[in-house]
Structure formats: structure tokens, C-alpha cells
Symmetry: C2
Subunit: 328 residues, 2 copies
């Protein structure tokens, strides 16, 4: 047992073991909740590691900077952040790194911060063998709290946008897919590369969820982002909320450009890094939300039962286990 390695136990088990060192009230969401006398804050850390999350062949430093902010802000958004305060940036660089790379990285950070709000608050730099960007973002918690563990049996499951595009973008950028052989349209190629390199977080969601609520409510609703993949996001909601999720496959919103087939379904379900949101709401609230925004679609519901994801009306018999990506 003493020689047990991280690659043997895997990412989920690693996170489960590390969570034991944290106070039990913090476990459900990526963001930590910081209570102050008047306001509550959300704090979130995300790492981007060279050769794990990026390399110079697939994404520019400007896009890495943009995406690092977006990744963090998406976690704040999916906890119900009402205002972004900013980010602390820990940056590890090899001494051989060109200053221009760093400059473009910071221009990318700044572009995202100018667009979504908040500023660079502080940070640290250190020498290392590979580039690593560690961002900690901080924002204000809304009275309406979005939480993974707040889905209720009877709730409607909603999603924003399309899934799978970022995965396709990654495959194109790494030449792991033959775009000519597959006869992909220029438009699909463009939006996929953009989804991978320049994602947009759903920064407007809190506003429209509040707009669609009937009265002011100091409560919690179910939500998470799909950064770890569509299936994993729904599994996490189900697992943390201790109820069963049922997804109706024909309802999954897809770009009209998205090809059909088992492989494309797998990109959709397990791709990751789309930064769309999965939301759980009572029927009437869900209906009002969909009336306000055309980009939000009903895809299923929660019901009593053991935590699990059932995908109804799936077109073929391939197994739909959770094939989500593990870093280790």
C-alpha cells in the first residue's frame, strides 16, 4: 500500500481522499464559499499545465490567458456569482520562455477580464521546468445560490448551448481527426476551434434565472458547468443531490452542422471543456426561463432513486458508462 501511486488510484479517488482534509460543508461544489459579516464570497482555483491542458502547437498564449480566466469564472458562475472581483495568478515559467509569450498570456487575461469584469489582483511567479498557470478567482455570491447538491426529484433538467464542440476543436488542433475525410464544414471547424481556444462562459445566466423567478428568493437551485463533460456534469448533479437524472436523448440540442453517429454522440457526452451549464428547476420556473432565453433547452428531469444518469431513447445499444477524462 505504501507504494500506491497516483496513476493507480486515479483522479476521482485522489480528489475523494484529499476532500477528507477539508471541512465537510465545502465538498459539493468546485467553488469555496467564504462568509463575511455582510456578504458571501466565492473562491475558485483552476490549474492549466503545459502538456496536460495546452501546448504551443494547439493554442496561442493569448487564448490560454483568455481560457484560464473563463475556466475559473465558469465555476463561479455555476455557483451563482453576481459580480466578479478578479483573479490571483500563480505563474510557473521555464527560464527559456520568451517574454513575448508572457506578454501575450497577460493580454489574454486582460481581454477576458475587460469583457467579463474583475481585474488581476495579485499573484506569484516562479521558475519551473514547464509552464503552469494557477488561477484563483474571487467573486460575490448571489442570494440565489446555484449548487450541485440542490436538484430535487420532480425538477426539470435544462442545458444551455451545444456540447462536444470543444472536444472536436481539440481533435482538429491536435490533428487527431481528418477533417477532409470526414467532410466537415468550414463553419463547424471554425466554431469548434473557437469553442476550444476561446470559450465564452455563461456570464448572463444568473440575471435571466432571477428574471424568470416569480419573486425574490433566498434559496438554492441545482447547477453545474460542463467543464468535465456533459455526462459527468449530470452525474455530479445526480450524485451530490442524491437523486436520479433522466435525460431524453432526442431532446439534446445540437448544432445543425453536428454529424450523426455513435462517435459524435461520444464527443457530445464525454468531450468536456464546453463551459455550458446544466440547471435544475421546478417545472413552472423552467418554462418561464425557456421563454426568456431560446438558448436554454429542457433535456430531462430528476426523480427519486439512486444517483445515476439514465439516457432514454438512445439510438443504438452502445454502452453509456461514464467515459469522462481522467488526468492521471
Amino acid at each position: 500500500m505504501h507504494k500506491e501511486k497516483i496513476k493507480d488510484i486515479g483522479e476521482k479517488e485522489l480528489i475523494r481522499r484529499i476532500a477528507k482534509y477539508m471541512p465537510c460543508n465545502q465538498a459539493s461544489d468546485d467553488c469555496a464559499l467564504i462568509k463575511t459579516k455582510k456578504e458571501d464570497l466565492l473562491l475558485n482555483t483552476d490549474l492549466m499545465v503545459e502538456n496536460t491542458h495546452f501546448n504551443h502547437k494547439i493554442i496561442s498564449p493569448r487564448d490560454i490567458g483568455w481560457k484560464a480566466v473563463v475556466t475559473n469564472y465558469s465555476d463561479l458562475i455555476s455557483s451563482g456569482c453576481v459580480e466578479f472581483i478578479g483573479v490571483n495568478i500563480g505563474l510557473v515559467l521555464a527560464p527559456e520562455t520568451e517574454w513575448q509569450w508572457v506578454q501575450e498570456l497577460y493580454e489574454g487575461f486582460s481581454e477576458a477580464l475587460n469583457k467579463f469584469g474583475g481585474s488581476i489582483l495579485g499573484g506569484d511567479c516562479s521558475k519551473g521546468e514547464n509552464k503552469i498557470i494557477s488561477i484563483t478567482a474571487i467573486g460575490l455570491q448571489s442570494k440565489l445560490k446555484l449548487r450541485r447538491n440542490a436538484c430535487k426529484p420532480g425538477d426539470i433538467l435544462l442545458t444551455t448551448g451545444f456540447h462536444g464542440l470543444s472536444k472536436l476543436g481539440l481533435l482538429i488542433q491536435t490533428n487527431k481527426i481528418n477533417i477532409e475525410e470526414m467532410n466537415l464544414s468550414e463553419e463547424l471547424i471554425d466554431i469548434s476551434i473557437n469553442a476550444f481556444c476561446r470559450p465564452t462562459p455563461k456570464y448572463n445566466i444568473l440575471k435571466i434565472i432571477l428574471e424568470s423567478s416569480e419573486f425574490f428568493i433566498n434559496r438554492e437551485i441545482g447547477c453545474t458547468d460542463s467543464s468535465d463533460g456533459f455526462y459527468q456534469a449530470i452525474f455530479d448533479l445526480s450524485n451530490e443531490s442524491k437523486c436520479k437524472a433522466v435525460v431524453d436523448y432526442p431532446k439534446l440540442p445540437k448544432s445543425y452542422l453536428w454529424p450523426k453517429g455513435d462517435q459524435w454522440d461520444k464527443f457530445y457526452l464525454y468531450g468536456g471543456e464546453d463551459y455550458e451549464l446544466l440547471i435544475s428547476l421546478p417545472r413552472d420556473w423552467a418554462d418561464r426561463l425557456m421563454q426568456i432565453s431560446n438558448d436554454i433547452k429542457e433535456i430531462g428531469y430528476f426523480t427519486t432513486g439512486n444517483p445515476n444518469v439514465e439516457i432514454k431513447n438512445y439510438p443504438n445499444n452502445s454502452s453509456l458508462d461514464n467515459n469522462s477524462y481522467s488526468h492521471f
Copy 2:
């Protein structure tokens, strides 16, 4: 210019260039100040990188965990943190890392948090080629703000504890010093290794500075920690406060075990990682503070003049330029 590398421009110039992307009110201290409606918070990020800050030959994972918390908390303390809320931990690990290493690291984090306050709030894990620990600590800002840029001409310069011990500990752990040839005492060896592996931040300082103040004061006083070295700390105070620091060499507090000589003075002045504090106070307040605590000593003063550090009564003629360590 396009091919200019980080190792060519050095750490200070890198930080100066990066600071241009930050709002100008954040530049003086390591900590960022977060204003909320009722309370102000302090946010600080510090990185510990394998083969830059640590390796398995010189420090145990438990001590790395302890020290990573201390490094961050020391920055919060030197900005006037009245209560530690906790830390977010970004952890990069090679897949070959043993779980036991991670477990002992988290036990080290927990030991420090149990001792000084706060808890693990959240974080992120990722695969990488080397181990990296990125900690972001958060705490409450006291009404009495400690700031690098708040030293005033006429102020007395005070220091806590001894300097140079951590550097000696590092040299012993890396076998870069021959302890037998140098005839170092067992006690000096022990306290030096302890200073390097298990430093204690000056977590009590705010309490005794407030105790020694004559009345409640919503103001700023000059302070920084000596994590980058004694000389660098005083230089930073001088530079940020736009006045000259004068240090009287014979007043420097030293352990009775500390040998004499030029080399030992250099360890003292430029060693780093001691986590002692340099404090600047008006004469009467400084006197009251020294009456309360025997560990705080007067070592010089600030005066009008260009930012600089003058060391008076230095025993020999060696140059006392700033030889502080640069990571790049």
C-alpha cells in the same frame, strides 16, 4: 527584442512588467486587498515548485505542506491580517507520485492550519511533470493596515527574531556547507534546519502592535516580512515608501550561536525565507512595542532621501549591494 527570454530580464523586471496589467492600487504589497461592504479581505498566492523550492532530499512532504501554509500566512500577517480564513490549494503531481507523499503533504497543511487557524477551502489537482503547490490564502484585514509603502522619515526600524538561520538550514540540507569543518554546534544545526523546514510565522504581531498603540487607530504602518531576505525586505520598504533606510549593523540581533565573519553576515543579510518581520513605527510607539516583546529590536530608522539602504558601522569594507536571490 522578440526573442528576449525570462532568464535575460530576471525576476524583478518580469514582476515589474506583469504589474502593468494590474490596477495601480495593488502594486505595493504581496497581498491583494479585496473590499466588501463591511469587511476588507487579504488574498495572497505563493508557489512552491519542485527542484526550485524543494526536492525530496532536503525536506519532507509534511514539512513542505507546513511551510507552504506558513509562506502564505506570513504575507497575510505582514499586511495586518486579523484572522486567517483558509487556503485554496492547486496541486500538480506526476502520475508516478506515491499517494503517501500526497497524504503527508496534506497532513503538513493540516498541522499548520490547526496551529494558526483557517482551513482548506478548495482547490484543484492536475497531472504534470513535476510537483507544484500553488496556495492562495485568504484572511480578514485589520483596521490597522501594515503596508510596505507606509514607512515615514523619522520612523524607527524594528525587526523580530534572527535572520540567516533558514539559509544555513538550506546549506546544511543540501550539503553545501561542511558542518564539521566549520565546527557548528548541534544546537545551531538544529535551529537552522528547523528554520528552513518548519518556520513559524509571526502570527502574534498584530495583537502586540495593537496592544502597544495608545488608542484605537484606523491607519497604516510600515511592515513587510523577510521571505526574500533581510536586506531585500528593508530595500522594499524604503523603495515603496520613497525614503531612505539606515541600519546600524551592531544592533542586528543574532543568535549567540551565530559565528562572526563576512560569509555569515551575507547569510544574514541575503539568506531569505526567515519569515521574520521588519516594522516601521514612530519612536514612542516603537519603545512601547519593545517593552511588550523582548523579541522585537530596534535596528535603525527611516529618513528623507532617495530610496536606499545604508548599513552603518559595517565591520569591513566588502560591498553591500543587494545580492538577493533571483529565481530566473
